[in-house]
Symmetry: C2
DNA sequence: TCAACTTCTTGATGCGCATCAAGAGTTTTG
DNA sequence: CAAAACTCTTGATGCGCATCAAGAAGTTGA
């Protein structure tokens, strides 16, 4: 969510983070473990203390597509977390051995209702989430693989130290071979 | 939004519709007129009484991509309508001469705050919008043009009577020539 | 520590789709 | 009502990218 942070008050994210760190359950997950799998109905969100995750979805041809990467300092969830009856439409899988703090959204709501008298969760965060999805939708619909490559690199400058080419290729929408050739030909000359 | 209707209580949509019909401004728009243009900061939403609209966005190569179609009985807006400071990321353009009822989101908020004591707008609708964007994002990322073609046809069975091939082709992500050939070869045999 | 596996690159091949082009049919408009 | 503009189809051509393949380098694990 870091690229969306500007759209919510910084203090709200800090508050959520503090809450989850203080009252959430500390969980170690190993590389390739799933935090959420397609079809799950969990309402858990988690703060990534250390590590990295990917959002994925299996296409009808059986191939996996990567939709997002998340790193330490960011949150992962079964979107839309507040619609707690909703089945997950994506997998959330660890790219590295990671440490996360897990917290159910229902408890989060309770916390804010007790503290402020009404849920600030929904207005503050759901719109951020919606706006993030809108941007991602537009990016898939309107951006070229190169544009997606540079956007990703801008958001996560050290992406190549954290994520292998195959996963980056899936994220930008080409095969690993094509990304390899893109890099050796023109991408690194810019 | 009709394909998302199931996720909000029907009565909420009815209430919004009644409110907009009763207190909104009736506006006739001509084919090709814009309701919203990229960069606009308007917080207007509108109920389509009669007609049809398309959401579009211009790609960096200058070509137009169509992201959604909306018909009578549905709403159009500068998403996210409740973030009223936000610049529109898409154009909303009339496909036919249409009649709409326009209503600013700010007045909508006032209405609900007066009536219920707090805004039900945000929790009820923002999540619906977010979920819609999520689905569209996943469709662009994971579905083939054929799959998008059939999804559209399922949502809007009479789409070919309302929208020309060029626009449908843009929506599913191919050129008009390719869609034409898809139809004559295998699509209509299924 | 060695075998098995993964990652990345590079090459060869072929298909799918964009592009360019042309023409028939339809709609719009002055 | 005629000219202009748009819509859809069909054909020809070529490029881009997926696919298949193979090999080098790095990583993992019994």
């Amino acid at each position: 969510m870091s690229d969306l942070e500007i759209y919510a008050r910084k203090s709200d994210w800090d508050e959520l983070k503090q809450l989850v760190l203080r009252h959430g359950e500390r969980v170690c997950v190993r590389k390739n473990d799933y935090f959420v799998q397609c079809g799950d109905a969990s309402d858990r969100i988690a703060y990534i203390k250390r590590g990295a995750f990917k959002y994925t979805r299996t296409r009808t041809d059986g191939k996996e597509r990567i939709l997002s990467f998340m790193f330490e300092g960011e949150f992962i969830a079964n979107y839309i977390p507040s619609r707690n009856e909703s089945m997950a439409l994506m997998n959330v899988q660890a790219l590295e051995d990671s440490v996360i703090y897990v917290f159910p959204v229902s408890r989060y709501r309770q916390f804010f209702e007790k503290k402020i008298g009404r849920s600030v969760y929904v207005p503050q965060f759901t719109e951020v989430i919606a706006f993030g999805f809108l941007q991602k939708m537009l990016s898939w619909a309107c951006d070229t693989p190169e544009e997606r490559y540079f956007s990703l690199k801008e958001r996560v400058p050290d992406i190549f130290n954290r994520v292998n080419l195959k996963d980056i290729a899936s994220y930008i929408g080409v095969t690993p071979e094509t990304l390899s050739r893109m890099r050796t030909s023109y991408l690194n000359k810019i």
